[in-house]
């Protein structure tokens, strides 16, 4: 067992966990932040994407112990004062989801994409950048539209 401490959505947290605990398990099971999903558990689907020290990563492919001292932001950390983050609002307005399971990872990837590449994203760039996020419902059309709209408003 190890005590791990980090900042999650602006709050200092610490938990006693087994060394083999994945970051996503710490988030969901210890901190009850169940907005971060586990779709495939094999590092492919991107439902578990969160930001660690400002970078999008797959939280099913990182040990909680590796995030010791890190600044972690999950989907729950995006909305401020009851207002949806512009990217969340864009997914809502553009119907960028059907079942919604992949949505938290899509939005965290999208926010990271805008931070790295700027507010004006063409369709080809968005689709290329979504290679690590799978959606089994939508065919991606409205997801791409949502990300372009959200990017413009960020």
């Amino acid at each position: 067992m190890t005590t791990v401490s980090m900042k999650v959505n602006g709050k200092e947290v610490s938990a006693d966990v087994e060394d083999r605990t994945l970051l996503v398990q710490l988030l969901r099971e210890n901190l009850r932040l169940t907005g971060t999903h586990v779709g495939c558990d094999t590092s492919q689907c991107g439902c578990c994407v969160v930001h660690v020290d400002g970078k999008a990563i797959k939280s099913c492919t990182m040990l909680a112990a590796e995030a010791e001292g890190a600044d972690v932001v999950t989907i729950e950390g995006l909305a401020k004062d009851g207002e949806l983050h512009p990217m969340q609002a864009a997914f809502h307005e553009n119907h960028g989801l059907q079942c919604g399971y992949c949505t938290p990872g899509m939005i965290m990837t999208a926010v990271d994409m805008v931070r790295r590449l700027g507010n004006s994203l063409d369709e080809a760039t968005v689709r290329h950048e979504l290679e690590g996020n799978l959606c089994r419902c939508t065919g991606y059309h409205n997801i791409v539209k949502s990300i372009q709209a959200g990017a413009a408003k960020m």
Binding site: T2, E18, D19, R20, L22, D41, T42, S43, Q44, G46, V49, K55, A56, I57, K58, C60, T61, M62, L63, A65, E66, E68, T109, D112, M113, R116, E129, E131, G132, N133
Partner: protein, 267 residues
């Protein structure tokens, strides 16, 4: 995942100490983008993990007129977005930019990729194709001596890659045909003409023995640096991988097509 003990090393000496002190089988953990999934599938079960991704000695990129040196713990995203690397060896930043997906590139490291030597990984093609030197905490290894077969290298169990030095070529390009699901190379070819006029061709994703140099192509391109120079080259399917993603014949053809496209891209 089976139980394991996690240790974080602050420097190389501490990493070696922690590795030696492990009660059973220790493994170094870099970005973890292969090792953690492998442990989750219970295909690896080290008793101890020694995390080396935050060791300062393994960080940093330095670019000179003759050499680009990349620390072993530098991530794919850092190589892909380095303007200095792009200016010196665009083929290298381009290769790094097409590994996996953005989230994987934020964690995965060059040292981790090379130590694992997955036969479909991208970096081995650059190390062999550019004739890079792999530096470890014990010695330096030429690219030809480093790769010894599928998932195997000349590294000893407790040896750590510290940096990789790539000679700056006159021109080079990397082309890969990626598996559409995993983004691993089904055939990836790096072609390079070095400043001394020599030509090197490194091929990943396709060979039965892992990454290899396509010496017939090197000869043909030495005589004439053009895609057409490769027209009569025959890649032997008997030496190619065959799996559910593609037959040996298909891969043999892909190698040639990717090589031609890479040469074209340097024009």
């Amino acid at each position: 995942m089976y139980e394991t003990n996690f240790h974080r090393a602050g420097d190389l000496a501490e990493a070696s100490r922690l590795f030696a002190a492990a009660k059973d089988e220790a493994r170094y953990l870099a970005g973890g983008q292969t090792l953690i999934p492998t442990m989750k599938q219970r295909l690896a079960a080290p008793s101890d993990l020694v995390s080396i991704s935050q060791i300062a000695e393994l960080k940093g990129i330095s670019v000179g007129s003759e050499m680009v040196t990349i620390g072993a713990a530098v991530t794919h995203a850092e190589v892909a977005t380095s303007n200095e690397v792009k200016g010196a060896i665009a083929a290298l930043s381009d290769l790094a930019d097409r590994i996996g997906d953005p989230a994987v590139r934020h964690r995965g490291t060059i040292g981790g990729s090379l130590a694992n030597n997955d036969p479909a990984a991208d970096y081995p093609a650059a190390v062999l194709g550019l004739g890079a030197t792999v530096h470890t905490d014990k010695r330096t290894l030429a690219a030809e001596d480093f790769f010894t077969g599928l998932f195997s290298t000349a590294l000893e169990d407790d040896e750590i890659i510290t940096k990789v030095a790539f000679p700056v070529p006159e021109k080079a390009a990397y082309m890969k045909f990626a598996n559409p699901a995993s983004r691993y190379a089904m055939a990836g070819v790096l072609v390079a003409r070095m400043k001394d006029g020599s030509v090197r061709v490194g091929v990943t994703g396709a060979g039965q023995g892992g990454v290899f140099r396509a010496t017939d192509m090197e000869k043909a391109l030495s005589a004439s640096w053009s895609p057409d120079a490769l027209a009569d080259i025959v890649v032997d399917p008997a030496e190619m991988l065959s799996d559910l993603h593609g037959s040996a014949d298909y891969r043999a053809n892909l190698v040639k097509v990717m090589a031609k496209r890479a040469v074209q891209a340097t024009a």
